[in-house]
């Protein structure tokens, strides 16, 4: 009989959680106190500091899911599957936050909740793809089979992004989003609070990802020890 699973958090994890919370608090303070109020949009423009970091984290999560899935199929190492599953879960979380914060901003600025803008539509489809990814994981039995099925779907999910872009461009959807951030779409004094918000968003993403990977490893270890216990009995 192996030792029971360790449920306590390591001091290192607690330190990392504290640090992440501190960075998030600093970013929140920066966007409340130092970020300027936009001349035309007013205070609602401050949603930018939440919306865009969430978008970056979500895209990062989906990209990691696809790459880790491909690495799993190639190397057949369980760690890649754990990373893929964790990145999909955290990516869906950030994508949900982005999809919730976007319409609030749109309603306040443009007067309608939703527009079938190309970037919005592709993001919505990605959200559906990775929600289906998580459902597929929970509805498949057997860890190796789950990992293989999920890896294939994760790869195709990312693969569909350029195709969807092309398809939506073809329909000529009006773009609400700026093409990129370098072209001066950020007003004076917004750069530093924005940079801080992005750093905080990515820090939160990485921290949650690592916690989720650790949780996956603990679950696998607990299942293994339970199985060993059955054999011993």
């Amino acid at each position: 009989m192996s030792a029971p699973a360790d449920h306590t958090l390591k001091p290192r994890t607690l330190w990392a959680s504290g640090l992440t919370l501190a960075v998030l608090a600093a970013a929140a303070a920066a966007l409340v106190f130092t970020a300027p109020i936009d001349d035309t949009q007013g205070v609602i423009q401050k949603i930018l500091y939440v919306h865009v970091p969430c978008a970056f984290s979500a895209y990062l999560g989906f990209a990691i899911t696809a790459v880790a899935g491909a690495l799993y199929l190639w190397r057949n190492d369980e760690i890649f599957d754990r990373v893929a599953a964790a990145a999909a879960e955290v990516g869906v979380l950030f994508c949900t936050l982005m999809i919730l914060s976007g319409p609030i901003w749109a309603k306040g600025t443009w007067g309608h909740w939703w527009a079938w803008d190309p970037r919005l539509t592709v993001t919505l489809l990605l959200w559906f793809v990775y929600l289906a990814y998580l459902l597929l994981r929970s509805f498949t039995e057997g860890s190796a089979r789950t990992a293989r099925f999920a890896a294939v779907y994760g790869i195709l999910g990312l693969f569909v992004v350029p195709l969807n872009y092309f398809a939506i461009e073809l329909f000529g959807g009006a773009a609400m989003h700026p093409e990129n951030l370098e072209r001066g779409s950020l007003g004076a004094g917004m750069r530093w609070p924005f940079a801080m918000a992005v750093v905080a968003g990515i820090a939160a993403f990485v921290h949650l990802l690592l916690l989720r990977v650790d949780l996956g490893a603990r679950r696998a270890a607990a299942e293994l020890s339970a199985r060993e216990g059955e054999f011993a009995d």
Binding site: A132, L135, L136, T140, R145, Y153, G157, N164, I168, F171
Partner: protein
């Protein structure tokens, strides 16, 4: 190549003897057409002409989902799927065989549905039958390639009937938008538009290659 032909022949023979799948798909897609008649205010009008390509493709996709779901649940009986996995060749050929059979069965359903659709909505499809068949073939190729791959996945999950549409529909957006746009331009001008056909060709090629390569991991028992 022999594996492809053998599986295609086997699937078509099974279908010919039972005719279960094609009949179910056909009745279902005709029912969808009838439902559209009641869902649209006013029945067949000039407005229907604008929405007709979209309605036709929705009927096709629904019928395809029904047929694709059946393609691999059939193989679960007597564990025939494990036998397929033991084929002494690249498993990609199994994928192509199953996909080709799905494509043929879907084509039969599509032809009959289109004829009925044209009749009840008073749309002249006969004059553009050949280019329309080309567009439908391109759309169905994309549909059946990822469809066959994820039908094999969904067949071995819980809630497989629910899982297949959830997995497939987000991936079918490029296929669907290209096919609907091409059909729509074809209906109004009588000519094949370049851009939607290009989108269909690129999507088909991409889906076919990736599905061919990934099928190995889906059938790996």
């Amino acid at each position: 190549m022999n594996v492809l032909l053998a599986i295609l022949w086997k699937d078509l023979l099974v279908e010919w003897r039972s005719r279960e799948r094609v009949v179910a798909m056909l009745i279902f897609s005709l029912l969808v057409v009838v439902v559209f008649h009641f869902a649209l205010p006013g029945g067949a009008t000039a407005q229907t002409r604008d929405t007709a390509p979209g309605l036709l493709w929705v009927a096709y996709v629904f019928a395809a989902l029904l047929g694709l779901g059946r393609a691999f649940t059939l193989e679960l009986e007597n564990d025939a799927l494990s036998a397929l996995a033991l084929v002494p060749a690249d498993r990609g050929w199994v994928f192509l065989g199953k996909g080709a059979a799905n494509l043929v069965i879907l084509a039969v359903v599509q032809a009959v549905t289109a004829a009925v659709f044209g009749l009840v909505f008073a749309i002249d499809l006969a004059s553009i039958a050949l280019p329309l068949a080309g567009v439908v073939a391109l759309g169905s190729l994309g549909l059946c390639s990822v469809g066959t791959l994820f039908a094999a996945v969904a067949a071995r999950t819980r809630f497989r009937e629910v899982m297949l549409p959830l997995l497939l529909l987000p991936l079918l957006i490029p296929v669907l938008s290209g096919a609907v746009r091409a059909t729509s331009v074809l209906l109004t001008t009588g000519e094949l538009p370049f851009e939607p056909v290009q989108l269909l060709l690129v999507t088909d090629a991409a889906y076919l290659v990736v599905s061919f390569l990934c099928f190995e991991y889906v059938l790996d028992e």
